[in-house]
Symmetry: D2
Subunit: 136 residues, 4 copies
C-alpha cells in the first residue's frame, strides 16, 4: 500500500455562504494531494503529460462527514491500495482537520491515456518503478 499526506490551507474563495468549503472544491484538494504524492516519489505529473501520458478522471466519489472551514489547515491523505495492472488507477483520499477529525473521504478513478492518440495505455515505467516498492 502507498500512502502520502499533503497539507492544504482553505482559501476564502473556496468557502460558500453556508460558511463551509463548497463541495465541488474537494476535487481540487484531491488533485493537489495526488500530484504531491507522486512528486514525493520524484515523479512530476506535469512531466508525465509532456512525456506523452495524460490521466483524465473517469470517476469521482466524495462523502462529506463534517464541513471544512475557512483557513483550516487540512491534511489530505492519498492512498493507493493496489498497484494498477492495466489502464486504470484508483486513489482513495481522506481529509482531516487540525484536530484530527475526519472530514471527507473520496475515491478518484483515472485512466492512463496516450496524450496524442487518446488510447488507453498503462502506468509509465518511471512512476511504476517507484510505486512498485510499496507493494512488495
Amino acid at each position: 500500500m502507498f500512502e502520502y499526506k499533503t497539507r492544504v490551507r482553505v482559501r476564502y474563495a473556496e468557502t460558500d455562504q453556508m460558511n463551509v468549503v463548497y463541495h465541488g472544491v474537494y476535487a481540487q484538494y484531491f488533485e493537489v494531494a495526488r500530484v504531491e504524492s507522486i512528486r514525493s516519489l520524484g515523479v512530476s505529473y506535469k512531466e508525465m503529460e509532456t512525456s506523452g501520458t495524460i490521466m483524465p478522471i473517469v470517476e469521482l466519489h466524495c462523502k462529506y462527514l463534517r464541513p471544512a472551514h475557512y483557513d483550516d489547515l487540512l491534511t489530505v491523505k492519498t492512498i493507493l491500495k493496489e498497484l494498477p495492472t492495466n489502464y486504470k488507477i484508483e486513489f482513495y483520499h481522506e481529509i482531516y482537520n487540525e484536530s484530527g477529525k475526519l472530514l471527507t473521504t473520496g475515491k478518484v478513478v483515472l485512466f492512463f491515456l496516450n496524450a496524442i492518440t487518446k488510447e488507453k495505455t498503462t502506468m509509465p515505467p518511471t512512476l511504476k518503478d517507484k510505486m512498485a516498492i510499496f507493494f512488495q
Copy 2:
C-alpha cells in the same frame, strides 16, 4: 418520478489544459440543475434557506463517460426517483451535449437541516406539496 432539464453553457474558466471541462466543475452544473428544477415548481432554494432550511451536500458521485468542451451547450437532467420521507434527498443527474451524447452521470445526496440548530429536518411543505404531484 420527477425530471427536469436545464441548459448550461461551458465557460472558458471551466476548461483545463486537457481541453475539457475540469472534473470538479460538474458539481456546479449539478447545483444549477437542482436549483432550476425546484424553481420550475415555483420554489426558490434561496427562499428555503432564508425560511430556515439549508441543504448541505453529504455525497457526490460522478462518472465521466465523455468530456465536455468549451462553449458546449449542455443539457443537465435532474432526476428524483423517490420522494424523500426523512432528512435525506437523492438527486440523479445526466449531462448531454448538443448531439445528444451522454457525457456524465451523477448522484448527489443532500440533507435537510434546520439553518439555526443544524439539526436534521424534513423537506419543507412548500416544496413537498409541489413534488408530491410527481409521485402519485
Copy 3:
C-alpha cells in the same frame, strides 16, 4: 459604440462566507458577457480560436460598488467604445442586479494573437465586419 446585455444567475459555488459573490468570480461573468456579445453578432469565440486567433487577457480592472448575492439574476453589460485598429481590444463591463442597481464596473483588455505563433495580430475580418457597423 457597441453594447450588449447578458444575464447570469449567481451560483452557490460563487458565493463566499461573506454571503456575497467572491470578487474573483466577476472575471467569469465578464467572460460570459463578452462571448455572448460577439455571439449576438453571429461570431463564435470558439470558432475564432479554432480558426487561429486567440485572445488572452492582458489587463483586468474591477470596481465593486455593491455586492452581488446568491441567486441574483445579474445583467452584465458589455461595451466596446472603440473599434480596435491594432492587436488590442478594450471591453468595458457593468453589472446590474434585478432592481437595476449598478453593482460592479470592469474593464478587460485583450490581445489578438496568432494561435500557433503567439504573435500579435488584428481582429479577424469575420468579427470586424460585424462590429464595424456599430462604429459608422
Copy 4:
C-alpha cells in the same frame, strides 16, 4: 514599507484550454498572499473576522505580463506602501515564476468594515501595532 513573499503551486483546475492559468484565478493567489503576509505578523484574518472586522474587496487590478503554467511554483509578493489611516487599505502584488520572471502585477483595495453593522471602520489595533513597525 511592508513586504512579504508567499509560494503558491498552480493547480490543474486553475489552468484553462489556453494552457495557462485562467486570469480570474489570480484574485485567489493575491488573497492567499495577503492572508499569509498578515499571518507572518502573528495576525489571523480569520480571527479578525470573528473579532468583528471584515475586509471586503472594493477594487481589483491585474496586469498579465507573462502567463503562469500548470505546476509552476509561483512566488507572490505582497507590498503595503502606506500604513492605512482610514477605512481603506491598498495592497500591491507581484507574481514571479521559478526563473524569477515577473508574470503578473496587481493592486487590491479593501475596506475595513464592522462585521455586524457593515459600517466603515479602521484597521484593528492588533494588526496596526504589528504593521506600524514597518513604517517607522
